[in-house]
């Protein structure tokens, strides 16, 4: 009787486990296997053979020593765009949620407008910004710059990292507001009233009481934001296409270029594996950092 029940409970979970394993874990393990092979899709005449760490070394070594290899530059770029977007989203996200935590007429409409970009698909937001805002002749940026007598420069090729950080932030800031505003609204009124009695001013109330109280929500926003931003791909493809050169590649974009343009399965596997490892490291590191910060508050 008992055994039968156990089996039935397992039957509830098993289909989910199977599909998740077959579509995520098994391919990931295979990617690791591929990363040790010499395998080029464009050269079917060449045998697929074991290559050890050759593919990893291809990215990790310094062929022109004083110069930094491309791989490290891309890792750095990924860290800069993800990190900047996260920091800006956290700061602006908190300030915006404080602003939106007021009961003024039509506040729900304003909240709705701010939330909007989060639900817009990345490729659509990329092309909208590219054609209606950043375009130097037809876009709002170009029109406004020209009317002010300045000659608009092509932002996408001159400041690709700045543009990408801005777009990442535009798309993910609403998510931070969503979570942090929920935090602010869950603060019990008694607590706020109590601080009133103590004569706390606005600044103290906002940064020394509200900010620490919602630290859990902030942690959630930062962690989920990191997990999603670090794998962003579509926005880069449709705006700068990683360029000029490789100056706005992030790691997922580099993996994509390695598989579909270089057709080198082994190297792409090595790059993908390192991307996963670095992403997980970043998640762990940021989690520790945020947790420690939150612990100080608590």
């Amino acid at each position: 009787m008992k055994k039968q029940k156990t089996r039935r409970d397992l039957a509830f979970i098993l289909p989910a486990i199977v599909i998740v394993a077959v579509m995520t874990q098994v391919p990931f393990l295979l990617t690791i296997v591929y990363s040790t092979l010499r395998w080029n899709l464009a050269r079917p005449d060449m045998p697929i053979e074991f290559a050890g760490f050759e593919n990893y070394l291809y990215f990790l070594r310094f062929p022109y020593f004083p110069e930094i290899s491309e791989f490290y530059r891309i890792v750095w770029q990924t860290a800069v765009m993800t990190g900047s977007a996260l920091v800006i989203s956290t700061i602006l996200g908190f300030l915006l949620s404080v602003l939106l935590d007021h009961r003024v007429p039509g506040i729900n409409i304003a909240r709705t407008l701010i939330l909007g970009p989060f639900f817009v698909m990345s490729t659509a937001s990329g092309v909208i910004w590219k054609t209606t805002i950043f375009n130097t002749t037809f876009g709002w940026y170009g029109v406004i710059a020209s009317s002010l007598g300045a000659s608009p420069v092509d932002l996408l090729s001159n400041y690709p990292m700045g543009v990408i950080i801005m777009l990442f932030t535009w798309r993910w800031l609403p998510f931070f507001v969503l979570v942090m505003l929920a935090g602010l609204q869950s603060i019990p009124e008694d607590l706020i009233d109590a601080t009133k009695v103590d004569g706390t001013n606005w600044f103290q109330l906002t940064f020394f009481i509200k900010l620490p109280v919602i630290s859990r929500h902030t942690t959630v926003a930062i962690m989920l934001g990191l997990i999603f931003i670090v794998k962003e791909f579509g926005l880069i493809l449709v705006t700068t296409a990683g360029g000029p050169g490789t100056s706005s590649y992030n790691l997922p974009y580099a993996v994509y270029m390695q598989v579909f343009n270089a057709s080198n399965v082994g190297r792409a596997g090595a790059l993908a594996t390192m991307t996963v490892i670095l992403s997980l490291l970043a998640v762990t590191l940021v989690y520790r950092l945020v947790k420690r910060q939150a612990a100080i508050y608590e």
Partner: protein
């Protein structure tokens, strides 16, 4: 409690001063919100322009449905739209079908080894961390060998695999709120596990099921990386179609805007309608932990 009220109570500002403060605050809030939303707002407007009207960035013009109608009839967009609808409807359905019982059994199930529930739950969560680049190479080669690129089923399988963990994650905390006494009592009354799930547990957490389904639907509708790499011309979804506009340097802005309108309106409306349950699902799923 709103800030205005508090400030009022404390400083005993005059009635005039208070309403002036509210007016200024309202103005600031709306200025920020409209500015933030402006690219989308402007795109909404441009969707109702003709191509000739779209050349100037005017905000006032005679609206027309011509461009929208053109996008929804002649162009290849309809095919992409149909593919997207298929992925969202079938994909979300399958995710719920697999994820809801799994989350239920993870909370209430009894396994031979103690701690199995916890371990399996953590396993599901860690797969959320896995970026799609980690799986794309094998999936791509498999799908080519199995001829799945030309059918919607390859992408569908990938979507189910990637989004079931999200359903499990969100619903786990909802099920955990269901008092175990209710489940035990129903067991004594002779309910099978399946009946417990369908008749008792799911109705109690329907807000959770709803918001999890909605979040997954929005994710699938907007997903680009897998769709871009695992589909062919006849099976690609809307994000892939939108990406095609990247090469047109400022051309066809009315057409682009009309297409964007169709592509982004459903998730934006769905998202807005369900903000509250979404916040609840997202924060419950993680803030508690």
């Amino acid at each position: 409690m709103s800030h205005g009220e508090i400030a009022h109570r404390r400083s005993r500002t005059t009635r005039f001063g208070r309403s002036a403060k509210v007016a200024v605050l309202t103005f600031v809030i709306f200025a920020v919100a409209i500015l933030y939303f402006f690219p989308v707002l402007y795109m909404f407007l441009t969707a109702f322009k003709t191509e000739a009207q779209a050349v100037s960035p005017a905000l006032f013009f005679t609206p027309t449905l011509q461009t929208l109608r053109g996008v929804l009839s002649g162009t290849p967009m309809v095919g992409f739209l149909r593919n997207s609808l298929f992925q969202v409807v079938v994909g979300t359905g399958l995710c719920l079908l697999l994820g809801v019982p799994a989350a239920f059994a993870l909370v209430f199930g009894k396994f031979k080894k103690r701690g199995t529930n916890e371990k399996l739950y953590v396993w599901f969560i860690t797969t959320i961390l896995l970026p799609p680049v980690a799986v794309i190479i094998p999936l791509y080669t498999w799908f080519q060998q199995l001829n799945l690129i030309g059918t919607p089923f390859g992408l569908l399988l990938a979507y189910v695999g990637f989004h079931v963990p999200i359903v499990v994650w969100m619903l786990h905390s909802f099920f955990a709120d269901v008092p175990i006494e209710i489940i035990e009592a129903s067991q004594i009354d002779g309910c099978s596990r399946f009946q417990q799930l369908i008749r008792i547990a799911v109705p109690l957490v329907r807000v959770g099921v709803f918001s999890a389904g909605l979040l997954v639907a929005v994710f699938i509708w907007n997903e680009f990386f897998l769709a871009f790499n695992l589909t062919g011309n006849t099976t690609a979804t809307l994000p892939v179609y939108m990406a095609r506009f990247r090469e047109q340097q400022g051309m066809f802005r009315a057409q682009l805007s009309a297409a964007s309108l169709v592509a982004i309106l459903p998730p934006v409306i769905f998202g807005w309608l369900t903000q509250k349950s979404l916040i609840k699902g997202l924060t419950l799923g993680s803030v508690k932990g």
